[in-house]
């Protein structure tokens, strides 16, 4: 069931941010919605279940994006490891403040990795003038909405899991 939810969420998020969001004026420079999802996987799901999805998502995004292959794979993998590392030192649980900061840091981290790759690979002689504006906007959006997305993923997963568990129980009762 978790795999079903993870695959559906991945597809939904990828399609949403490649087909719908670029055409909405305010959201065309929205942060990567897969970051809250990866943070959710890191915080709430076991490693053997979530790690393949993190790598799968990185692979998909690298294929869809125009950047050098492996950028998203790298970003997501290290972000995931970072989240796992944080959970070893801090009890995150349902603390919204920590979740928000983790997601915003994830967004900042992704942008730094992308900008760092430009600098290392020298694909861009000089950063676009609005680079700071884009990064700041994305981090701000993440601070405002990141934890909401994570809670949404968590609750949806919980509800679907409960739904799946109840149905066989009911069937047994009726039978």
């Amino acid at each position: 069931m978790s795999y079903f939810f993870n695959i559906s969420a991945c597809l939904f998020l990828v399609i949403l941010q490649t087909t719908v969001m670029p055409y909405i004026p305010l959201l065309d420079k929205f942060y990567d919605l897969l970051i809250p999802f990866i943070v959710y996987l890191g915080l709430s799901r076991p490693v053997r279940e979530s790690l393949p999805f993190v790598l799968f998502l990185g692979f998909i995004m690298d294929n869809l994006s125009g950047g050098p292959f492996g950028l998203y794979l790298t970003t997501y993998f290290w972000l995931y490891l970072g989240v796992i590392g944080i959970t070893m030192f801090i009890q995150v649980g349902n603390r919204l403040m920590i979740i928000t900061v983790v997601i915003a840091s994830g967004v900042l981290f992704e942008n730094l990795v992308l900008l760092g790759s430009f600098a290392i690979l020298k694909t861009r002689p000089q950063f676009a003038g609005n680079a700071v504006e884009i990064v700041a906007g994305q981090v701000l959006w993440a601070l405002l909405t990141g934890s909401l997305f994570l809670l949404f993923f968590r609750n949806t997963h919980r509800r679907i899991s409960l739904g799946f568990k109840r149905n066989p129980a009911r069937a047994r009762e009726q039978g």
Binding site: V14, Q17, T18, T19, P22, Y23, D28, K29, D32, M61, N63, L64, S65, G66, G67, L114, L115, F118, T123, R124, A128, G129, N130, I134, Q138
Partner: protein, 277 residues
């Protein structure tokens, strides 16, 4: 003396006569005796009550209960209206698509190369890269490096191909470069993307004349884009005293935010320098 039967008959005739006379008298008189008033005063309130009640009921029926039917009719009408609006919108979209496709066909007639029309189905998930996904791939004859154009000008080039889909790097991407000419003065330079809505024209020597509004076209020397395709217009020229090149900002003719259909040029006529006579 008179039989009972006789009395009844006479009485009946008299009654009829009195009735007729009475009627003829009352029909000529306009004044009433007041009984009518009493009757009117006594009955009218009940009449009024009943009538008002009936009207009230009728109004309730018409304005409330009858509204159930009207609401249903209204719902049907709203659905019809919604359908009509949807149809109108669809027709409008079709009309716009028709206009765009006409432009593309007109443009297609003007270029000699074989082309394939494709639709944009997705955009780059990152704000840092400017690529789009189109719905044509290897099965349609696409390969890496093919130029992608629309009627307004050059859009980009194919950088990845799958069986039925391809990824196109737009000319505004920071990895893009197009060998170009200033149409008026034939000054040469390289159009580079900025990952914004604008490009830069690099390597234009200061001795060359470049002015705001000049049209930039492809030179054809990069082996990717055919010669003479429009790219954009010069929107800013910045002079640096210590530099041998102009700093030229170019605004592309293509509105990349509204890119929906494109043409992929399948066979670019390349300069065959090796076998040149």
């Amino acid at each position: 003396m008179f039989s009972r039967k006789m009395v009844l008959i006479v009485g009946f005739i008299v009654l009829i006569a009195v009735n007729i006379i009475g009627l003829s008298v009352t029909s000529r008189r306009s004044t009433s005796f007041g009984i009518e008033r009493i009757a009117l005063s006594a009955i009218a309130p009940f009449q009024e009550l009943v009538t008002r009640s009936l009207r009230f009921t009728r109004n309730i029926w018409r304005t409330y209960f009858y509204l159930v039917t009207i609401a249903r009719v209204n719902q049907v009408l709203l659905q019809d209206l919604s359908q009509a609006v949807q149809n109108k919108n669809q027709w409008h979209e079709t009309e716009l698509a028709n206009m765009r496709l006409r432009d593309l066909i007109d443009f297609q007639r003007n270029i000699s190369e074989r082309v394939v029309a494709a639709e944009v189905i997705g955009k780059d998930p990152s704000a840092w890269f400017k690529t789009v996904i189109i719905d044509k791939g290897e099965a349609d004859g696409l390969t890496r490096g093919l130029p992608v154009v629309i009627a307004q000008g050059i859009a980009g080039q194919v950088i990845e191909v799958s069986n039925h889909y391809s990824k196109v790097m737009l000319i505004v991407d920071s990895n893009s470069a197009v060998d170009s000419l200033v149409q008026r003065t034939r000054a040469r330079g390289v159009i580079k993307g900025e990952s914004t809505d604008q490009c830069r024209l690099d390597y234009v020597l200061r001795k060359n004349d470049v002015r705001i509004g000049d049209t930039i076209v492809s030179s054809g020397l990069d082996g990717v884009y055919p010669k003479g395709l429009r790219i954009g217009f010069v929107s800013q020229v910045i002079e640096h005293n210590a530099d041998i090149f102009h700093e030229v900002i170019v605004t592309p003719f293509v509105d990349f935010e509204k890119l929906e259909e494109v043409l992929v040029i399948l066979e670019v006529q390349k300069h065959d320098w090796a076998n040149r006579p």
